[in-house]
Amino acid sequence: MDPIAKYISQKISKTRWRPISPALLQQPEVFATGSWDNENNSVSIWSVGEHGVSNTDGEFDEEPQLLCASQHDGDVMDLQFLDQDRLVSASSSGAVMIFKLQPDCQALSLAHVWERAHRYSCDNTPCTAVVCRSPELVSVGEDGRVTLYKADQTEVVRVIENADSSTIHAVTFLRTTEVLTVNSIGQLKMWDFRQQSDSPAQILSLTGDRVPLHCVDKHPNQQHIVATGGQDGMLCIWDVRQGNTPFSLIEAHSAEMWEVHFHPSNPSHLFTCSEDGSLLHWETTSGSDMSTLLQIPVAAQPDTVCQQPRCA
């Protein structure tokens, strides 16, 4: 299926499908986008398929339609759906925000802000990523802080100050009380919120050059398997129980890999997108052990891929 392109008046940094209840047995039709680098940034909600007619293959022929939007202070550095009605954003202003979506998608409004969640003593500093496991949220930033929140609480639950001397680029939940962060000196750090101390439970890194890591995702079924990507475009799959060597190393891209995702229901499929302008779809061939990954080209003409990396 050829991708559909629509030109809008903003640069998009993140796009996320809205979760739907699995009981509905449908494909998601609504997605959110966050913009960056504009004078006025916004978070927008779009729909595919509501106005258009999907053909027999379940493909959509119409362009996405804008449903509603809300102003966003600062670049949208990360975007995650907390649940069906709430969207969390990480801002370049250092704030973490929750947006509420009306049930009929008619309006999107700011419900709560944690201002200056990430900061230096005098300046603001970008919050680089946020991850949700309702009702909990974790955010990380260029200030090297890891912060834990509860969606309905104004006060932050816990802050790990100086968790990292370099920028933390991404975070993912491992278990309910454990998160994994990746930083700009190529380290993966595990944090256990049950522990009192502010030190990581474990630190992993590739032997060799300290290449910054930009993204991380956990295998949907196996809590100890994670995939990471970084500045050199290398895709690594790790077993966090097994120390410093990822069991899979692939030269996926020729530039920074911005996002990596396991398919939520079909985890032998992975998606990566990169500054080199490509979006790649990977599949493991050997069952659950993930030791071989094959690249499946996404059907897109080279000159319609825009310079901004899109994320699945």
């Binding site: 970008p126 260029e142 990292d164 370099s166 930083n183």
Partner: protein
Amino acid sequence: RSFPERSESHLIFVGLQKIKEDVPSKNKKSQFVSISKNYRSVIRACMEELQQNAGKRHMTHIVSILLAIELIWNLCEVLFIDAAPAGSLLLHLLDWVRLHKSDVDARAREVLQSDSPAHHQSYWDVVISLVLQGRVDEARQVLSKQASLRAESSSVFKRMDVLLHTMPIFNPTGTQTLTEFDVKWRHWHEECDRCLQDNTFASNRHLETICKILVGDEDTILEQKELLSTWYHFLVTRLLFTHPTIKPPDLHYYAQSSMSMFLGLRASPEPLDIILLSAFEFDLHQVIKDCSIALNNWWFVAHLTDLLDHCKLLQSHNLHFGSNLREFLVLEYASGLFTHHSLWQLAVDYFDHCPEFGRVYLELQIERVPLDTERKAIKVLRICEDRQMSEQVRSICKIMAKRALRNNRLGSALSWSIRAKDAAFATLISERFLQDYCNKGSFTDLDLLDNLGPAMLLSDRLTFLGKYREFHRLYGENRFSEAAKLLLSLMTAKIAPRSLWMTLLTDALPLLEQKEVKTQTTHALQSHFTLDEDIESTKTELLRLALARNLAMAIVKEGTIET
């Protein structure tokens, strides 16, 4: 100005640059025409979007500029890019006029949908407008509404219907040659004239007017000024009915006279009129120049000139100026993009396709992009690295590293230094660490220091830092022998900074007390220290004492046990 237009036209521009030189010119022409149409559809899409926000005064102004731009571009496409020969030329010009005078359709619809079309007040206006645009079949259709009403005059209408029906229209894809068409057309023209001489339409002044138009009577056509509304519509209509086989080089004569006749003595031509006239005169250079001045729109002149340059049309005009003009305009446009807070990324591709000065412009502009977030800095860096702009890479990394250092983010600072392979800055960071150590008595950011890896080799000072931290770790784990050896190697390698010798000495002292530390090591350490003149005398005394004791113990030990 509109963002999607910039983004979409950027893609068209990049696609155009990729068209290979060695493709045969016939295929290229159709590609260029297609690209021209793509650009025009971008303009129209932009107009449509703006018109949806109609009502705001400055919007209407912008829409009218866009209309002018599309008009000019379309004409350039017909005359220069498609370069239609005689025969097709007029057909294309007719299309051009029809596209830019769309109110005829609305009026026609209004008339036809009314209760009694033939009595509608605009009825004859619609018929004549259609004839003026050469849309004879549609004119016939509207005329047929009249004919059915008045049986006694039906023969007159039938006569007109025949004239209109038999009007020859050149078919470029057909087998008929231009000469054959011309002969046919002259016969038809004579037939129309005969009708006038015979006063066939004397009973109906409207039909009489139409017949005069068909014959190409300039005064009659000119009388339809209101319906024509522009001199170039007048020009095309005039050509349709007097000279349908017009050749491109002959256009300018008719264009000049049409404009004079239409505007009359009182009105003076507007900038748009001058530009169109220059186009009819095939003076590309003048068109571009006047567009640049009058329209204040770099987007238009840059993209159009670039396309014309690819069609090799600028070269024939002014050899040594040709490609430079294109580059100048593209550079101007791209520079404007660069000052835009979010469009700077598009500008890069434009600079890439300016062979003479593109790189220099990029080098100058890229350093001015504000680096609000690390992610943005990384994107800027990637642009620089892809083009081997190493000076800019260094400069940007240094800015980021300094900022990180100011905020005490030593790991980040180091990360930027590694990317730039900036040994000097890595040294600076290491000094900062060591300074902190001296002030606080312990190391900060152990997660970084304990995991430096090969990055340690970036600078001597950094290597020292890593090893020194390792020394402390070994000591903390009571591995004194290894610790001492490491300390010794640090000193032998001469990478310990002068300022730290005192500190090293203080660290070394307790070591010398340790039994495990071998005699050899102790001797070696001793020799390093005693050679130094800067060391405080008390400490030196202590050292000598400790050494002496250790030496004594060692001698005793060696004497008793075989090591």
